[in-house]
Subunit: 175 residues, 2 copies
DNA sequence: AAATTATGTCAATATGACTGACATAAATTC
DNA sequence: GAATTTATGTCAGTCATATTGACATAATTT
């Protein structure tokens, strides 16, 4: 219930080690991401979906035709974790699977029109938040922010960032 | 297995709506945070702790003396979710509870020396990643990044960001 | 004295993740 | 052509983190 004097010593000793730690940005990243991800939750609840569904749908929409293996790499989860979520998205008609044209073992994933609509609806509030946050920022500021976030990603995983759908290929609707 | 023509139309139609969506920053935030949070996981595993423990320990360390209610507000979780994690941190000797001096119903939370050491060890790789990401950034860039992240937080929750321990008060070691 | 507040706790449940094992079909290698 | 590897799917069990709802206690406020 006391020990004020002894602690002061401990606190001082630790402060030296804490010097180099960038607590400011560590916390800002936490707070920013906390609220950034809170936006779509309300919409997802209407569909009985969670954040896992959001992540899957987002990347299927953004990289139509990506394979299950690619999706697992991007999300950094196991296939067992993906299984239920992906099945629910397929059953609900938001995502379709197509046998790979080159390698018929592969399953290419495509959003349906319904899936695209939901992906868009989920991205909208997040995009609005970003736009508002950049209100006062100039082009140079935006570039700096992008560079920083890109540099925060593991170097060996950075190729994932820019991967986009092969040009010319649209989505696929049905079976 | 086909439907290439029809889809093209759908894709074009949606592209118009997608115009305004800032997918670039949405994905950068996802990738940056994914890898940012992956750093401490290895250390946590040694202690049998998870990310929830990390978050609690971080804020107890950074805001020594904060109450249970304040912690719940910051983490945006329910007290039932906090209960087990907090109990484990207390049992393991990383956090101590002290009856509030003004309001004796409150429980002020403080890190022990052990807790501070662990909080620091967890912050270190994250701080290193941030430093590396800012390698090429100037002071103006850093300021822009901080402004952006701050602006991403819900306006009504922004006061949480700057809340820091009352000056003069150190940690508390034991009973 | 009554109401409210801060915290703790019990019980049940949901979500999202994990490991390990095994099955199938298709591609690759020998 | 047979054997191996690869991509995917699936079953079973488990764990971590979160939820809601209900109730208990002690201390503060009204």
């Amino acid at each position: 219930m006391n020990g004020q004097q002894a602690d002061e010593a401990v606190r001082t000793a630790l402060s030296a080690e804490e010097e180099g730690i960038d607590f400011a940005l560590i916390e800002l990243l936490f707070f920013a991401y906390r609220d950034f991800t809170s936006d779509p939750d309300v919409i997802l609840a209407d569909y009985g979906f969670g954040r896992a569904h959001h992540r899957v749908l987002h990347f299927v929409n953004r990289r139509p035709g990506l394979t299950v293996a690619e999706l697992l790499e991007v999300l950094r989860i196991t296939k067992q974790s993906l299984a239920r979520v992906l099945k629910q998205l397929i059953d609900a008609g938001h995502v379709v699977q197509v046998q790979g044209p080159r390698d018929r073992r592969q399953r290419e994933l495509y959003p349906t029109a319904k899936g695209r609509a939901l992906a868009l609806a989920l991205a909208l509030p997040q995009s609005r938040r970003i736009r508002a946050a950049l209100e006062e920022a100039g082009p140079a500021d935006r570039a700096a922010i992008e560079r920083f976030l890109k540099a925060m990603v593991d170097p060996d995983l950075r190729p994932q960032i820019d991967k986009r759908p092969r040009a010319g290929g649209g989505g696929r609707e049905g079976k």
